[in-house]
Symmetry: C2
Subunit: 117 residues, 2 copies
DNA sequence: GACACATGTAAGCTCAGACTGACACATGAA
DNA sequence: TTCATGTGTCAGTCTGAGCTTACATGTGTC
């Protein structure tokens, strides 16, 4: 995970409304309007937050049809786990600099696959 | 940890420059001007970021005198560890709502879907 | 005194993110 | 046909974080 991905994740979670969204969704999947009602927030705003959460991979959406025939967009929480400490950050930043400014690693073949730190 | 503290921590870390600051400081303590030089960022800007990091408890500062007699403000990384997942977020949000809207735990534990893993 | 190097802060600009209000469109029920 | 309830998106406003430039102040050295 490079710093860009790490930042996307942190930015996605790092907002009061989005914390509430995640907390609300922890009770189970629900569709957008229902979620907006529960949280007391406008749909356009909720859409924006959901978009961020979805881009970061924290939620998944699925469009379904209710028995009434109405289209309902169900939002579901995706499991995630990030251990946030100095090592995680250091690894992310190192991954950037290795790619952008110092691609030729002096010692040995530059296998980007190994990772495993 | 309530959501405010959680957000402060996430916001503190959730910025590219601050990730770089943390990464740089992982090599050891150093004073502000030196750090600014290494990161290629202006001191006022670095001050702002350091202030955020310090408020979140991620770094600590200490004003010292060099052998020359110059005042040097040394910045040191504070150890931290946060497991970021649904449970952490849920706990933080619950702590808020419990304090603000539902101080008295009414009618028993009311654990809907604890699933304590 | 002039210079280099350090801390510390204030004023002001810019811009992305957060948010609101209003639209278009579809469906089932009255 | 009208209403209620969905989805989906756009235009526009506004606030605050991020950033720069510029200061004031202190020290040791030339």
């Amino acid at each position: 995970m490079n710093s860009e991905e790490l930042l996307a994740l942190l930015a996605a979670v790092g907002h009061a409304q989005r914390l509430r969204i995640v907390a609300e969704l922890s009770e189970g999947r629900m569709y957008v309007s229902e979620l907006a009602r529960r949280l007391g927030m406008s749909r356009p705003l909720l859409y924006m937050h959901l978009e961020r959460l979805e881009k970061a991979g924290l939620v998944a959406s699925n469009l379904e049809l209710s028995p009434d025939g109405k289209a309902l967009k169900y939002i579901e929480l995706a499991p995630f786990e990030l251990r946030l400490n100095v090592d995680t950050i250091l690894a992310a930043v190192r991954e950037d600099t290795a790619r952008s400014s110092d691609p030729g690693d002096a010692a040995g073949p530059a296998e980007r696959n190994d990772g495993t730190t």
